[in-house]
Symmetry: D2
Subunit: 138 residues, 4 copies
């Protein structure tokens, strides 16, 4: 799981850790970063001018085919965290998005990536639609 | 939130508490009992001879309109818990299901109910279909 | 589950629905409103001048003993929702908090309450500490 | 993220998909496989003769430092799925566990790994205790 440094447009999503996201170790459960990454790409796409909700309403999904996460430092309840999100790679049918979660001091807590392919609502693989490519090139 | 004692057919669903279901208090997060109730009614319906998956495939949902939960004792990671589920009330368009979560010793940890109405997949209220009523009368 | 109209100080917590909070009905899963209520009371306490994280660090918990939720209209992915939170009742050892979740147009989606008692970290019931009462009287 | 074929003792954990684990795509949300992996390693350790709950009570955690997941086919509500879990690597302070999630027909839905280091409850890195190594050698 090699991760590139942030590049291109980097969106930032800032929110507080919810109590429900912690576990009995007193820290955020490791599975909870994946919904945070999802917030990151939702905000990244909104910044690109095409929301994921709109993209989905056009009949497509960007389904997740692979994820990787490295955990460096824990986050805790009520911490103010920021997900930094950028587009690492786009191909005709697939894309890779990368993420960093940082705390209020800017220390990196977690890094990760998600790989996606474009499919229609009945599950057929599809090329990334032109409108998405254009949004990504903004 | 008055809860009746178990009556009619009572199904039992037994499973271990997942680590991901705990929170920083070291106990199961209070929101996590609602998915457990959902396991309870899935099993209750399977026992009635009509799975909820089949019912949904027929074009219906039993959407949740109200829930209530009382928390008596906490559950912890790896505890073996049992959800006891029974049908408390059926009307032409609605039903109420009740639950108890007990530990291995039979101590009641949590009690609760969920109220449902029947809707079609496009959200229109519907009478409970005859096949469901018949299954419930088994 | 009778719910009073909002009264006293009402805090507002606004955020977008996460994809991970939806279920196969295409709407927010009913269990997901409980973590939203938790966001609501976190913000309400911050507004009172004593964060729940600080309160917990003092050796106490406000453990949940009962919840009730009524679901009026569904929320969907990417909707901007607001949790309105207020303190409905305070007694020497217990309190009740109430909530409304509204959409961008102000329509009420969900109403609910949570009842809490004060306990120490080893689980012993305790009076609400004076500092908490004072914060609540602000 | 290269994954080895199952080897050594392989534990199997079988359960039904919960409705709360699905998302608006109608399939299991990709984050939900991490709690399933956790079920897998809980069962794997129980089979080794030392439960994770016991290990934790001895003052240790096996904290997660990296995860990787590949998604091949979706799981849906009420599907009966099995998590196959095996120990892929043990070093003096770290271990790697691998997983496959298969459906009732044995088709692989998801593969993945988690890497862990041993820490004490106050977060200090520690060698894997001898009792754990011995359990793993069973």
């Amino acid at each position: 799981m090699s991760q590139s440094p942030p590049r291109g447009r980097v969106s930032e999503s800032t929110f507080r850790v919810r109590y429900a996201e912690t576990d009995a170790m007193g820290i955020v459960h490791h599975s909870r970063y994946l919904p945070w990454f999802e917030i990151g790409r939702t905000d990244w796409m909104r910044g690109a001018g095409l929301t994921y909700a709109e993209f989905e309403a056009m009949g497509f999904y960007l389904t997740v085919v692979e994820v990787g996460v490295r955990y460096l430092r824990p986050a805790r309840y009520d911490d103010l965290v920021t997900v930094r999100t950028w587009l690492a790679e786009v191909r005709s049918r697939a894309l890779r998005i990368e993420y960093e979660v940082v705390d209020e001091q800017g220390s990196v807590l977690v890094t990760g990536f998600t790989s996606h392919i474009c499919i229609t609502h009945d599950g057929a693989p599809a090329r990334l639609p032109e409108i998405l490519i254009q949004a990504f090139e903004n």
